[in-house]
Each structure stands twice: as C-alpha cells, then as structure tokens.
Amino acid sequence: MNQKAYYGAFGGQYVAESLMNTLDELDRAYEQAVRDPAFLKQYHYYLKQYVGRETPLYFAERLSEKYGMKLYFKREDLNHTGAHKINNVIGQILLAKRMGKKKVIAETGAGQHGVATATGAALFDMECTIFMGEEDIKRQALNVMRMEMLGATVVSVRSGSNTLKDATNEAIRTWAKTAEDTFYVIGSAVGPYPYPKIVKEFQSVISREAKRQIVEAEGRLPDVVMACVGGGSNAIGMFAEFIGEEDVKLIGVEAGGKGIETGEHASAMAKGTPGVLHGMRSYLLQDEDGNIQLAHSISAGLDYPGVGPEHSYLRDCGRAEYVTVTDVEAMDALMELCRVEGIIPAIESAHAVAYALKYASGQREKLGAQKAAQQVMVICLSGRGDKDVNTISDYLAGKGYLN
C-alpha cells in the first residue's frame, strides 16, 4: 500500500498516471527544502517582513466577560492580504521557484487563496492563472479585481456547479497538461499527497506562535482550540502543535448552511461518507450513486463538499471533534464580534466564533460560572470580513444570497 500518503484510511494519490512523477518530484523537492536552513530562513523572512507575522493572540476581554470564558483570538485576519492563506502561498511559491517553475496556477473559492497566490506571484515575478467558478466570480467581484490588479489571469470556470469544486477540477486538468513548467499552488489541506502535508507544514506557523503566546499569557496550554473547516487549512495549521497535547480539546467547525436537516450545507464530516475527489480519499458529500453533491454555505470559502484527509482521520480516531454552525448562527456571531470587539471577521471565521460563543455558554451551564471563567479557549480568526461586505449587506437586507 501507498502508506506514506495516508492518514489512517484517508489521503492517498488518486490522480492520473501522468501526474505521478510530478507528485514524486514535488515530494522530494519539498523534503529537501524544509531541511535546508537557507530555504527556511527565506520563508521566515517573508513571513515576518512581508506578511507581517507574528500575528497577535488577542485576549477578547469584553466578549470573555459576556460569555463567561477566557477567549483568545489568533489574529490571522491581520496578515497581508487579509487571511491565513498567504502563509501557505509564500511557502509553496518559494518551493516552486526552487524547482525552477516559471508559472503558477491555483483554484479559488472566496478568492482569498487566489488573491494570496496572485500576490505571491507578483512578488516573485511568476506568471499566474487563477481558476474560479463563474458563480463565485459573481459573489466575489472585489477579489476578482484584486487578482487582476496583481497581474493574474482569472479564468471563469463553467462546468458542474460553477463553484470551488469545479474550479479545482479545472485547475487539476490544466496542471495535468502543463506540469512540466507549471506549479499548482493548492490552497487548502486537500488534494493528493504530498499536498496535505505541505499545506499543514506551511500553516503550522499559526499554532507554533499561538502555543507560545498562550503559555506566555496564561502560563498553561488552552483547554480548547477552535477553527472553522472548509477544506481545513487554517484548522490544520491551528491544530498542528496541539495534536500531541492530549489535554487540549480540538474542535473544527463546519458550515451547516441552512441547517444539516435541510440537506443544504457544507458539512462533509457531519453527513458525508468516505470517497475520492480531487486526488484524495476523505469524507465527501455525495448522492446515492456516488456523484458529488453541491455544498451550500453563505461563506464561499467553506462552500466545499469535501475536507482534508487528516481531518477525516482526526475525526475517526477521536482526536478532534467536528461540529456545525448554520448560516444564521454564523452571521449573528459576525455581528456580535463587530459590536463587542470592533473586529469584522470573514464569514468563514465567524463560524468558529459562533461555536466558540455557544461552547462557552454551554460550559458556564455545565461547570458553573466560576469554573467556566477559568477555562481558556483559543479561536483562529482566519480572515477579515472586508471581502464579505456585499454578502453581509444583502443578508442584512433580507435578500438572502447567491447559491
């Protein structure tokens, strides 16, 4: 068996024969790079001087007071380009350069990974093409403009549901044609091995910093670590350094859309079954014939019918717990964070905030106010909400939203 490519029963390399040598070449280049002090130095230089790391671990005093638990936010929203996506992009583009590739391609849903990739491509002078579903192009016009300003070509994908899943299919097809000179920058902790491993490594900077910061602030590890999960890149980065700390509870929050019971959601792990999509074996939303189902979420970044294979593994072995939050709950939490803390989070991140508030209230009932107030939770605020103002304004006006 292709053992190294698996997390338990999940992962693997379900790609065309023509990409197998490419994946092998990528794996070898990556393993060499992460052992090369010069590469790491360069990566950390750009994270500090260009991205603006380290990001703060902010103690949300008013929110903590109101919900009766110590709530800390890991401020990935303060990164250059507005989300955690850039951490991974800097790593992968440096790797692409090291491998002598001149072109990069990427898929994008909400556009955050597309913007991050276009940014990295501009910085390192590479030709950049971004695949984006026609539906998402409509929802995220601002990010499309950003990508174009940064010099990227945005290709509108019209097949299937015209969203992230289809943009990913098209990126994989293009990659299969052009792998000889083109590097595929995958934005989430998904895809064939070694991508889930690479994305995890380049996102683990989140938990390396957060672990040190929380110990400085509280003198101990947190009780709970929480992050939203679409494909799961911010979550795997937020969990990475805590997976081995068994007393730390890990919670991933998936998009429950209009409610799990309506069937219109994006919760691969709540309702999905294992299957193969985008080169990996993982939990997926699929119908009775094994066709992939449409995901639904108000958040374009969580609107994905699968999930990274390591999350499927963490779920099945019980190390992490995965829960869901509906569109309405996420939007309520988004407004709450705006008003109580003066932070406009991305709708994706608002899912983690929503469950954090629910969890804190639950702990207060379960443990009593005094004990709950001593509990410490770290929540990954993966991105800022500037990109979402159109969606938010439509939602508040009661107009619903696309998709």
Binding site: N2, Q13, Y14, A16, E17, S159, D166, N291
Partner: protein
C-alpha cells in the same frame, strides 16, 4: 481468457489493428446506449469503452464533461448501466466491453460488490483514470478472484521509468495516452510520442492502443508501426450528438475507421 484477450488474439492472428470507441452511457438515455453498442458491434468495433458518467470527471475535456453531465441529468445510474449491459448481452452482444469510470463510483458501490457485478453483467475490463498503480491494490484483490474483469493499464508520455512497473501484471491491452492533459484535445500528440511508444512496445508483449485527441485513421497513420490500435471518444460523441445518436451513424463510422486503419497499415 476473457473477451478482450480473445479479441486481441484474433486480431494478432489476422494482423489487424484494433479500433476502440468510447461512448458515455446514458446519453441520451440507456435504451439508446444499448442500440449504439449493438450498432458498433455490427460496424466492426473491437472493444467499446462505456463511460460511466461521474459528476467530477477530472481526466476529461469539455465534450465528455458535458456528455457526463447530461447523462446524469437524464437519470443514468451505475445500477441502470449494469442492467442495460446485461440486456444487451442477452440480445447477443459479444463485443468486449470496458467500463471507463472514476474510482469514487467503484468505492461508493462497494469495491467487492462492484467487481462481482461486473462479472455478472459482462464487463470485461476497467479503465480508472484516477487510480494510478500505487492505489490499485484494493481493487486488484477482488479482480484477482474473479479473473473475469481486467484492469487496463494507462501509460502517459511522461511515465518514463515507471513503465516496466505499470506493465508487469498487465493483461488485455495497454492504453497509451497520446498527450498530456485530458480527453478530446486536438490531435497534437506529445513531442516525444515516438520514443515513448517505442519504450512501451519494448516493455510488453501486449497490444498497444493509443487514445486522446484522435478523430480519423489518418491522425494515427504516422505512428502505424508503433501502435496496434486507436481509441476514439470525444470525436465520436460529438458526431453522434450532431446526428441524434442514430445507431447507423455509429455503425458507419466504426466500419469506415476500421477499414481505413487497416488499409493504412498495408
């Protein structure tokens, strides 16, 4: 010996090249697909690849993507396709049939149950473009039991040193992809296509078939000494679509291609 191996043996004895087609099952509906299979047998096709439509066909270009989408919308299901093939076999279809499908379809059905059902329904081979050699162990353990259905190996222009490994346990024929990328592009074969086909030929006794981007026998004429047959998919689907999926069109196309293919090899 299964139907594919039997056919390959006959072709070798007659020194004929094979003509293999691909059609998407359930387009426009399963009754029409059955008629198209019978028509292609009459026209002299040697093997038909029956595409099992999947929602996310990452190895396929626009024509087969669209065909798959329409077939699914029109109600094609794996179970229905198995039953249709069983009926066609009962009506005398003796043509070797290969399912071309994505691995999720097999996994979702249950790998063991799927392989068993292939045996019952008369599926002679499987081509699974997203199941590379490294991931084949799971399905092979069941295929090895029935021995009725063969996993056809796919080889690409950049397979290079992987070729001997890919062909070691292979049966039936070798499917050589003519170019990088997806099905249905123009007939711009990979720049290294000749040395690539020669490497494959040297590595195996099996017949070598080439597919991706082929429309007429003339497209493969320059390579006639290096291949034992040609595979046509997207072009045939487009042709059928333009002609209301008339069985006669499929029959005539097969007859003409097969004739030209073997004439050009004289």
């Amino acid at each position: 010996m299964n139907r594919i191996e039997e056919r390959m043996k006959q072709l070798r004895e007659k020194k004929e090249k094979a003509f293999i087609t691909y059609i998407t099952a359930g387009l426009p509906d399963l009754a029409a697909t059955k008629e198209l299979l019978l028509a292609q047998e009459r026209g002299g096709a040697d093997v038909v690849e029956l595409g099992i439509p999947f929602s996310d066909p990452i190895a396929d270009g626009p024509v087969i993507q669209e065909a798959s989408y329409r077939a699914i919308s029109n109600g094609a299901t794996v179970k229905g396709i198995f039953s249709m093939l069983e009926e066609a076999r009962a009506e005398g279809l003796s043509l070797p049939i290969v399912f071309m499908l994505y691995y999720n379809t097999v996994l979702h059905y249950g790998v063991e149950a799927f392989v068993k059902r292939c045996g019952e329904a008369g599926v002679d081979g499987l081509i699974i473009p997203d199941l590379p050699y490294e991931e084949q162990e799971e399905i092979r353990q069941f295929l090895d039991v029935t021995e009725q259905t063969i996993l056809i190996p796919l080889v690409s222009p950049v397979s290079g040193e992987r070729i001997p490994m890919l062909l070691e346990q292979a049966r039936g024929f070798v499917y050589c992809v003519s170019s990088m990328g997806v099905t249905g592009q123009s007939a711009d074969f990979h720049k290294e296509v000749e040395p690539y086909l020669r490497t494959v030929k040297d590595a195996t006794e099996l017949p070598v078939m080439m597919g991706f981007g082929i429309r007429t026998a003339a497209d493969v004429k320059p390579l006639q000494n290096l291949i034992d047959g040609a595979i046509v998919g997207s072009h045939l689907i487009r042709l059928l679509d333009e002609n209301d999926f008339a069985p006669q069109i499929a029959e005539d196309y097969c007859r003409e291609f097969k004739r030209a293919l073997n004439q050009s090899s004289l």
